[in-house]
């Protein structure tokens, strides 16, 4: 029986590791920076390195790497700083495509190492590793592009549905408005003016879209007012005026309580568009910012549009005169800050007015 010691003694000794051979198999070259801005080639040059450096070289050759590759030049600047610090570790260049003569080229990566007391530069041909990375990223990015395209399509169709809904709502509101002599264009304009103010205030797109549709519903409660009062030529009696005021409450009741932001906003507008900034309005005699902002916006644009247009009971009033009159109501009837925004976008307001002239239904 042999001892364990003699068995171990019979084992063949391992061959000394040829580091250069191992590294050569990894499709990389190792260089050592020298003091005179040259590098000492420490492994057998690979074919691609020979092509890059332009001369056949062998282990132990000294060479300059400057000017071989713009990207490598760039990295060597970082590498020199790194080696100068003398801290063990490494930095990577990240992959780059070296494409002589505009061809497809090869993917390389450089690493600067500091080990012991020496710096090293490793240049590696990434080959299949790079191709696999490209395949993964290509697939991921194509997936993202498809997702983006689908999102755009969903958005486009949602907008299309919304436009159709708006059109239906506008036609119904316009039909209802004819009872008290209003036109479909007035209904549409109120929404567009209000939306323009919302945009000037920097509101989100969805909130602006809600305002554009909710504002025209401000007088929807007039459906519940008797014709004898609604269409009465001349002044209303005190009792008739009280009944007329109920259109705000009727409108709010019709729009109901809802979690849908558009209907919540429409309800606030229907109920609050006759409130006044100083608390003299109706039905709740709210003061200042207690009045929902959407209602404060509609108060301004409704008065403006009614005054500048012809009605069965009045001729159109010149805009300058309308603005002067409204100016007197700032701080009393109208929110001063919102009125300033309204005046600031008058060119847009005028464009909406001119683009949506009154037409018979």
């Amino acid at each position: 029986m042999t001892s364990g010691r003699s068995e171990r003694a019979d084992l063949p000794l391992p061959e000394p590791l040829d580091l250069g051979l191992v590294l050569g198999g990894l499709d990389m070259v190792v260089l050592k920076p020298e003091r005179d801005d040259t590098f000492l080639l420490m492994t057998e040059p690979t074919p691609w390195f020979k092509a890059l450096s332009g001369t056949v070289r062998s282990v132990g050759a000294r060479l300059s790497l400057h000017g071989l590759s713009d990207y490598l030049d760039h990295f060597l600047f970082d590498a020199a700083e790194f080696w100068l610090k003398g801290v063990p570790g490494r930095i990577r260049s990240g992959p780059w495509l070296e494409a002589p003569d505009g061809g497809e080229g090869r993917a390389l990566e450089a690493q600067a190492l500091f080990h012991g007391d020496d710096g090293y530069l490793i240049l590696e041909h990434l080959g299949e590793v790079y191709k696999a990375q490209v395949r993964v990223l290509q697939s991921a990015r194509e997936h993202l592009l498809n997702e983006e395209a689908l999102e755009r399509e969903v958005l486009r169709r949602t907008q299309s549905i919304r436009l159709r809904e708006e059109e239906i709502a506008m036609r119904l509101l316009a039909a209802a408005a004819t009872r008290d002599g209003e036109t479909g264009s007035h209904v549409r304009r109120i929404g567009l003016y209000a939306a323009a103010i919302g945009e000037a205030l920097g509101w989100e797109a969805s909130r602006i879209a809600d305002l554009r549709l909710a504002a025209p519903m401000h007088d929807v409660g007039k459906i519940g007012i008797p014709d004898a009062i609604l269409r009465k030529p001349g002044a209303l009696s005190a009792q008739e005026f009280r009944i007329m005021q109920d259109h705000t409450v009727i409108g709010a009741r019709m729009l109901g309580t809802s979690d849908i932001p558009l209907l919540c906003m429409a309800r606030e507008i229907a109920l609050g568009h006759h409130e006044k900034w100083d608390g003299r309005g109706y039905p709740q005699r709210l003061v200042g910012e207690k009045i929902p902002i959407a209602a404060r916006i509609v108060t301004i644009v409704d008065v403006y549009d009614a005054m500048v247009h012809r009605r069965v009971y009045k001729a159109p009033i010149p805009e300058a005169e309308v603005l002067a009159t409204m100016e007197q109501g700032v701080g009393r009837d109208f929110d001063p800050a919102l009125f300033e925004v309204f005046v600031g976008i008058l060119p847009i307001i005028r464009a909406i007015r001119d683009g949506n002239l009154d037409e018979p239904l």
Binding site: H74, A99, L137, R141
Partner: protein
Amino acid sequence: MIQLKLCMVGAFAVGKSSLVQRYVQSMFSEKYHTTVGVKIDKKDIALGATSVRLVIWDLAGEDHFSALRPTFMRGAAGYLLVVDGTRGHTLDAALDLNRQIEASQGPLPFALVLNKEDLLDQWEVTASRIEALERRGMKLFRCSAKNGAGVQAMFEYFASANLEARAS
């Protein structure tokens, strides 16, 4: 010969590589090929009596998978921020990249490139947004890597403006 390094930056799939390929090789491919890492192309041009070599660094698109290394800008005469006009968020990405570059490298000449002008009817980048950027003094180019419109003019304007700045 004067050498000018120019970096192409922007979100992924905005057409950076396609613009370079159109300019350098007069070619265009409909298929999207992602760039991993950096590809450097060169083009020698004559601007009046001056010979210029444009060294164009095509940097991988910015997204979740790869981030811009601001040090790539070192030594650059400037950069082009490329935007896909049909994808509105790529403008936000470009403006964000611009802030990153300015924060790390200081101010460098740059221009905003609105690519895919051939698909103008599908643009999400609005005219009002473009006007607002122009009012801020941003230099803008509209071009199409697909049909080549505006591509040569954009690169060569950049080179000329750089030479003029050097001369002054």
